[in-house]
């Protein structure tokens, strides 16, 4: 009977507080993750929006290709028109 009482006391005074403490820590950690996840979501959304202009790279590529082709034609004409240095 005495051991039973001692077991009850240990259960109420030691086991229950330890369980509550550990569970409270897990809950606090889980709660701290939520705002970080929301912040990451906002940053990812902003990053995705910033990349909307990447489509214009295709236009840039076409423009650069046309420009270099024009420069090549221009250089070819100059090569014919102007004398060489040596």
């Amino acid at each position: 009977m005495t051991l039973w009482w001692i077991g009850n006391v240990v259960l109420l005074v030691v086991i229950l507080p330890v369980v509550v403490y550990l569970l409270h820590g897990v809950l606090a950690a889980a709660k701290s993750i939520v705002p970080s996840v929301h912040a990451i979501a906002n940053v990812a959304a902003a990053g995705s929006k910033d990349l909307d202009a990447t489509v214009l790279l295709l236009t840039t590529q076409e423009q650069v290709t046309a420009t270099v082709a024009g420069v090549a034609n221009y250089g070819g004409s100059l090569d014919v028109i102007l004398d060489d240095a040596d």
């Binding site: 009482w5 109420l12 897990v26 809950l27 979501a41 420009t67 004409s77 090569d79 060489d84």
Partner: protein, 208 residues
């Protein structure tokens, strides 16, 4: 009777303790589950946006590589043409004249250009500078090119360049004053005087 009550009391306390522990477990674990669900929904949003980022940035590498390749070809072409037409020394001088300090890096396809002391093209007219001047003012670029129309309007280019000169020739007057002709065959002969160059007949400062 008393031992029975004592046993019941101990049992009630035990049950109470177990109920408290189970209640604490239920409360905290349910709270954790709620938070994990929030995290899951937030991560779903993150994954959606990251997928968009991956999708949008997928062609960037190829496009930028292509653009860099095209620009490299253009740089090679222009460097080669500049060196071919102006010479390596003058080319370095021209680059230095346009971008101060750039000659230290040299021309990409001409490693020996880094060892050249750049001439001061801005002060001394060299062949490279004259080449540039011809390009800007009078070179008939692509005139009669079978590939298409001229890249540069020669008339307008000439008119634009003429704006740099004094007004007297810009309006193209019908007749300009002729340049004076000098020398023994000049149509305008000036009076020949014997006293010019001869010794003075009267020295200055002496009264008559």
């Amino acid at each position: 009777m008393a031992p029975l009550l004592a046993v019941m009391a101990v049992g009630v306390v035990t049950i109470l303790a177990v109920v408290l522990i189970v209640a604490a477990l239920v409360f905290y674990l349910v709270s954790v589950i709620v938070q994990l669900r929030k995290i899951t929904s937030g991560l779903d949003v993150v994954i959606a946006h990251v997928s968009e980022i991956v999708q949008k940035s997928a062609p960037v590498n190829d496009v930028v590589t292509t653009i860099n390749g095209q620009l490299d070809a253009g740089v090679d072409l222009l460097e080669g043409l500049l060196v071919k037409k102006a010479g390596l020394v003058d080319a370095v001088g021209l680059v230095e004249g346009l971008y101060a300090g750039a000659s230290a890096a040299g021309l990409r396809n001409f490693p020996e250009s880094t060892t050249i002391t750049a001439p001061r093209i801005g002060e001394v007219y060299t062949r490279g500078t004259l080449t540039l001047a011809r390009l800007g003012r009078e070179a008939p670029i692509a005139v009669g090119n079978p590939a298409g129309p001229a890249l540069r309007d020669v008339e307008r280019g000439s008119l634009a360049a003429r704006q740099l000169y004094p007004e007297i020739r810009q309006t193209r007057p019908e007749s300009l004053p002729r340049s004076p002709v000098i020398g023994t065959d000049a149509p305008e002969q000036y009076e020949q005087r014997e006293d010019i160059g001869a010794p003075r007949k009267r020295l200055p400062g002496r009264s008559a």
